[in-house]
Every structure is written in C-alpha cells, then in structure tokens.
Amino acid sequence: MPELSSGQRVGRESGRFLRCCGLTTTPPSPCVQPCCRPLCYEQSERRLHKSLQMKMEEMSLSGLDNSKLEAIAQEIYADLVEDSCLGFCFEVHRAVKCGYFFLDDTDPDSMKDFEIVDQPGLDIFGQVFNQWKSKECVCPNCSRSIAASRFAPHLEKCLGMGRNSSRIANRRIANSNNMNKSESDQEDNDDINDNDWSYGSEKKAKKRKSDKLWYLPFQNPNSPRRSKSLKHKNGELSNSDPFKYNNSTGISYETLGPEELRSLLTTQCGVISEHTKKMCTRSLRCPQHTDEQRRTVRIYFLGPSAVLPEVESSLDNDSFDMTDSQALISRLQWDGSSDLSPSDSGSSKTSENQGWGLGTNSSESRKTKKKKSHLSLVGTASGLGSNKKKKPKPPAPPTPSIYDDIN
C-alpha cells in the first residue's frame, strides 16, 4: 500500500473516507492504484495539485510577469544585503566583546602627522622624489665632494677596502716586483685609483689630473669585467696593458707610447693592416707581411733612421745621435726598463740591472738624468696609453722630445 506523507493510508478495504491531507510542499507520490471511488475529493485535489506541479515545471520563468520576476530578484537582493549586515553586526559585536573594537583609534595629533599627502611632486609621505640624485657628499677620507650615486664606489677605492681595491693592490705588488726595484715612488695608490684609472698610470698620478676626465667613461681595467677578455690575449704581450687591447688580434698603434712601440716593434711584425688600422702581432718573420712593410712601419714610428731590429746588431749608432757609451747606456736602459711582458721579465731584470749598473759605473749624474727621463717617458707613454680614443697622435710628438732629453 502506498503511503502518503501524512502517514495515512487509503486503501480499498477501508470503507471510510479518509482525508488525506498529503498536500504539503512536496506533493506525495501519486497513488498508483485507484482508491475508493466515492472519495473523489482528495484524489481530485491530488490530481489538481499534480497537474499544477507539472505545469509549473513546464512553465518557464520568462512566461511569468516581469514584475513577478523583478519581485523575486528584489527579494534575493534584500536577502543578500541582510546577510551582509548581519555578518557585519556579528563582527562588530565580537570585536566589542573581545575588546579590540576601538584599537584603531589614535589621537588626533598623530592622525594629523601621518595624514596622506596629496601634492604634486611629493609622495604620500611628503618626501621629494629624486632628492638624492644631485646631492654631493664629502668623502671623509679624501675630503672631496663626490656625487651621491658615485659615492659608494669612490669610498671603496678611497678606503682600499673593496674587492677591486685589493685586486689592484695585488696586481701592483706583483708588477712592482717585476719592474723597477729601484722605483722609489711609493705614494699611496689608493687615492690614485679613485677614478678608475688605467693600471699603468698609477706611478705618475699627480701630473695627470686631466687624464681622469678621459678615462672615466671607459671600463675600469682592473674590474672583474675585464679579466675575462684578457685571458684570451696573446701570451707574448703583457697583461698589464689591458687598456691597449681590443677584442682582436691586432694592436691599435695610436694608443701606444714610444716605449711600448719600440718594444713591440722589436718583438713583433707590427705592420699596420689596411682594413683594421692595427699592428700585426705575429712574429718578426710572419709570412703575411714583407720585410719592406715592416721597415716602413718602423721608419714611420721610430723616425727615418730606424731599421728592422733583426737586420742590425746594434741600434745605438743609427737611432740616436749621441756618444757611444751614452747610447749604449740608454739603449740598455730602454731595453731593460721598457720591458712590459711577463715572459721576458726574468731576462729583462738582469739586463735592467746591467743597464743600471753600467749607468752607475759610467756616470752618476747621467744615471739620475736617464732615470728621470726614463720615468717621464714611461709616465707619458702610459699616460698617453690611457687616452684610448681621444688622442690619436701621441706617438708622434713625444718622439722628438725623447731625442731632446737624451741629447
């Protein structure tokens, strides 16, 4: 017997007419079996209900009045808002009871202090943007005024405490061992390395204030960035002249001082290539260039009396107009002191010593004179070397001056 939701049964047996008030919101399952015929009321009611339900199911909402739809929508909306309000009330009540409701209140004074600033040119805290760009700070070490953005690197060099400073210092120590031992210029190099100077220029710092300007825009030769490219360079020539090297196998002769030129030309081919305008770094017997070319180059650089080093045995008579001893001394000194390649460092040391020894033996005065001129030459050479691009003509003017000095 099917049971109605009301729990009352309608059966054939019962002769009574039971009121089946099964018409709840969820209508009862329809009675499959026909029940007591006389009692049609309930059944008809049920049937009506069923039909209505089915109708409702078929019915689409759009079929309803729009007003009904709108009313429903409004109701839903009202429900949602009420939910939100209630939720809010609960939150507030909890906050009150737990004691944290009034926590975000501050006194009016501090409210005013930290009020959001809304003026042009200022951020919300009232600070000026870009304030520190143009500021200059005074370095406590050297008492110079440095731009704020350059202050940190400057300080690193100035105090000698950064990574680069120790690198420079180590290199300097290593090279000073290789080069002149009698070099008595022992200034504090921290200051000199300040503005990212080239390596070779540290000996004659004071003279070349102007050079700082030239070198500043270029890469620091001692910075780590450089070290990678240096590894692939020719082994012949030294690592200590990084500023002369480009990423090619040739040398820009414009940047070389007479010292380095001479040393280069005695060891390398040196012929200037037409397309790249660089000197050939191959050996003196390189097959690409003829002896004539090499001769031309040497004449061009070293003056009309210069010849190929391999051809002549002694340069003194031809190169310089001076007495034999003087020439010999100077020649040895040039040879020895112009050594810039680590491969020759050992041999050059001895020759250097000999040169100096000879100098000492022959004349004291000349030694100091030579020394000074040598120094100045090295200085100028290196200084000119550091002017990579700005001064294309360094070799030419100083060459006559060398002659003058010695003569």
């Binding site: 409702m56 909402l61 929508a73 949602l80 507030v92």
Partner: protein, 101 residues
C-alpha cells in the same frame, strides 16, 4: 486555489533559491556584494555609526540584538545605488539563464 497559488509562488521561490545555492551563485553574489561594499566605503561608514551607537549604549552593555536593530536599517539604506543596480542585474541574468526549472 488561492492556497495553491501562494504555494506556487512559494514553491517557485524555493526552487529558485535551491537553484541559486546548488550552482553556487548565491555564494558568488554574496562575495561580490561584500567586496563592493568594502570598496565603496559602506563598511567604514557603518563602522563609524557603530562606534557612535556603542558609545551611547556603553561598551559593556552592547548586545547583538541592539546592534542588529540599530544597524541593519541604516546598512540597508547606505548601500549605494551602483552596487544595488549591479547586483540586481546579476540576479536577473541568473534568473533568465535558468529559465526552465
């Protein structure tokens, strides 16, 4: 018949509500409403009003009923029109989508 008509409406509403909940639309609408109310400052306004009410009543004696009674009507009134319109729009869209129940 009147009963059935009322029932019909009630049923319809019930069905719609059921649909709303089933599809998760009700939750979404609720979240949307909450977010919009915070955005437009409704919550802060109401909070300020709360503070006044509480100061009046005294911190210790505030009850939930008090709060609800005071705040709900104000809250309903304070909802900005734009929020109301948007929400109604979404509800209507939902109803239109789920035309056949």
């Amino acid at each position: 018949i009147v009963v059935s008509k009322m029932n019909k409406d009630a049923q319809m509403r019930a069905a719609i509500n059921q649909k709303l909940i089933e599809t998760g639309e009700r939750e979404r609408l609720k979240e949307l409403l909450r977010a919009k109310l915070i955005e437009c400052g409704w919550k802060d306004q109401l909070k300020a009003h709360c503070k006044e009410v509480i100061k009046e009543k005294g911190l210790e004696h505030v009850t939930v009923d008090d709060l609800v009674a005071e705040i709900t009507p104000k809250g309903r009134a304070l909802v900005p029109d734009s929020v109301k319109k948007e929400l109604l729009q979404r509800i209507r869209t939902f109803l239109a989508q789920h035309a056949s129940l």
